[in-house]
């Protein structure tokens, strides 16, 4: 059996894929597993286990001929064809796209054959978006900032790949090595992050190191980071009077990073890729998070990890941060942190404002009871049900309706649903669920599409009916004095 895993995203996503690769290897011990990543991230991917061969997608090679004064798009197209043909030549039995990106979806469409099993995002033959499995449907509909998912991304990627992640998959057994001097028990600090919104200001790091040093003057601190973060690291190191501060920013290979983290007692970081590297070597993380990230989706999974949440990093109270971290190092659970646990979500702490939406997701996707809604919401759902019935009725009579008029009716129905969704934001998971039901409709002849649309709206009708029946049941029980 030959399997290709695509991970065309960045460092953090590649490292999050690590446990999935390990699970895949456990499920298919004799399979040939190839791992396709961008050339830039090949070294990081090389630290992972569970595959036989790394394949590279060189963006520079593919788009290089177009981004110069004498544009040669023909050469780029030729190179892209050659790249795709080389992959197709391998005759994979299964191709798993864990990237969730438009580029990867087009690549998937070009690799699709009648026999290969495809998972993740792809494209229909007309170029429209295609979701190849149920876990990816869930990702599209419910995952990301502003959504209400509570599963960790590692588990979602595993579901896309069709495997279960065990606790033993989260940590690698290899002994990471580095020639860099690291005193066991040191604290590593990653000062950077991939996005501006996730970065802690340099002055805050300087202040935090000073506060921490007052409590633990003899604990070695090791700064880690990429070359692009060297300037900030020098400012931090230059401003610190900590006697045991080592600046390794920009001076490490990925193997060194894993080696350093393996020897450290803890990593302090702000939702950066090193959070996942620490997880793979089993080092606990003190993760400082803000609302630009859903930490319960991408936070640390290594035992003993904590998440310290601050809405605005400019307002970060570094004394409180240092004291909280001290408490966590000493084995206490400070009141103001989320602690990593086994469960859903993977962190224990208040998930304010999302309980209803999470219950709604549970009802929509795995058959839990629908949550109780207020009268306005119940009325909105009843409107949706009526709208869905009207669409179904028109689709059933499609052969008697002028195609342009039918298209107009469907558009009007979409517009009304959009208006309801704007009014009823708490019902967002339901609207997202229904949107994905629509996306599942494949291109085809008019008759084929109408048949698929009827199936789609019948599925929505069942969901809406069950949703409303729960409300009626609850009202009845309330009237009977049972609730």
């Amino acid at each position: 059996m030959k399997i290709l895993v695509l991970q065309l995203a960045r460092f953090g996503d590649i490292l999050i894929t690590g446990p999935v690769l390990k699970s895949l290897r456990r499920k298919y011990p004799d399979a040939r597993i190839d791992f396709l990543v961008r050339s830039k991230f090949k070294e990081a991917a090389g630290q992972l286990e569970g595959f036989d061969r790394i394949l590279e997608l060189s963006t520079v090679n593919l788009i290089g001929p177009i981004i110069q004064e004498e544009m040669n798009e023909g050469e780029s197209i030729r190179r892209a064809h050659a790249f795709v043909d080389n992959l197709k030549y391998e005759n994979y039995d299964e191709i798993i796209n864990l990237s969730f990106s438009p580029a990867s979806s087009y690549l998937m469409s070009m690799l699709e054959t009648d026999t290969v099993i495809m998972r993740g995002y792809g494209r229909h033959e007309d170029g429209s978006f295609k979701i190849l499995d149920e876990a990816s449907e869930y990702f599209y509909a419910q995952v990301g900032v502003g959504q209400h998912n509570r599963f960790h991304l590692i588990n979602i990627l595993a579901s896309v790949a069709g495997v279960d992640v065990l606790d033993s998959d989260l940590t690698y057994s290899f002994k990471a090595q580095t020639p860099l001097a690291v005193t066991p028990g040191s604290i590593a600090i990653h000062i950077g992050a991939s996005q501006e919104g996730k970065r802690i200001p340099v002055l805050k790091w300087i202040s935090f190191i000073r506060e921490f040093g007052e409590i633990f003057p003899n604990t070695p601190l090791i700064l880690l980071g990429a070359g692009s973060e060297s300037e900030d690291a020098e400012k931090i190191a230059g401003s610190s009077s900590h006697a045991h501060l080592y600046n390794y920013v920009g001076k490490t290979k990925w193997s060194d990073v894993f080696g350093v983290l393996a020897k450290c007692k803890m990593l302090v970081a702000a939702d950066s890729s090193l959070v996942h590297a620490a997880g793979l070597v089993g080092t606990s993380v003190f993760n400082i998070s803000n609302p630009t990230v859903n930490f319960w989706e991408t936070g640390p999974r290594s035992p003993g990890s904590f998440v310290y949440f601050e809405n605005d990093f400019e307002m970060l109270n570094t004394r409180d941060l240092a004291q909280t971290m001290t408490a966590s190092i000493n084995g206490f659970k400070p009141a103001n942190v989320y602690i990593g646990v086994q469960g859903i979500p993977a962190f224990d702490g208040p998930m304010t404002g999302t309980e209803f939406q999470w219950d709604l997701i549970a009802a929509l996707y795995w058959g839990a009871d629908f949550p109780r809604v207020n009268p306005a919401m119940a009325e909105a759902v009843a409107h949706l049900q009526n709208l869905n019935d009207v669409v179904l009725e028109n689709l059933a009579n499609a052969d008697k309706i002028d195609p342009k008029i039918l298209a107009e009716i469907l558009k009007r129905a979409d517009d009304i649903q959009m208006l309801i969704s704007q009014q009823m934001t708490d019902l967002q998971p339901l609207f997202r669920f229904m949107e994905v039901e629509r996306i599942r409709i494949a291109p085809g002849t008019r008759e084929e599409i109408i048949k698929s649309m009827i199936t789609c709206h019948e599925r929505c009708a069942v969901v809406l009916q069950v949703f409303l029946s729960f409300q009626v049941q609850e009202q009845k029980e309330m009237a009977d004095g049972q609730l």
Binding site: L62, S101, P102, A103, G127, A407, G444
Partner: protein, 66 residues
Amino acid sequence: MKDEAVHYFKLAIKRLENQKLISQSAEHNTLSTEYKTQSKDEMVVNFLLELLKEQVPHEDFSSSTR
């Protein structure tokens, strides 16, 4: 990314978008467009376009996926 590089990326994106021979019938599920299969070249052009757009992350490029 340097301004000059951004300029070339934008030019390349514009040129490739002009090259797209057909519009995607992404709205087939509203019955408002005709269905047409994309050729291998069209798929490759779309693939390259998306790779280009990723290089200029702060631009507001609409996309049918997340």
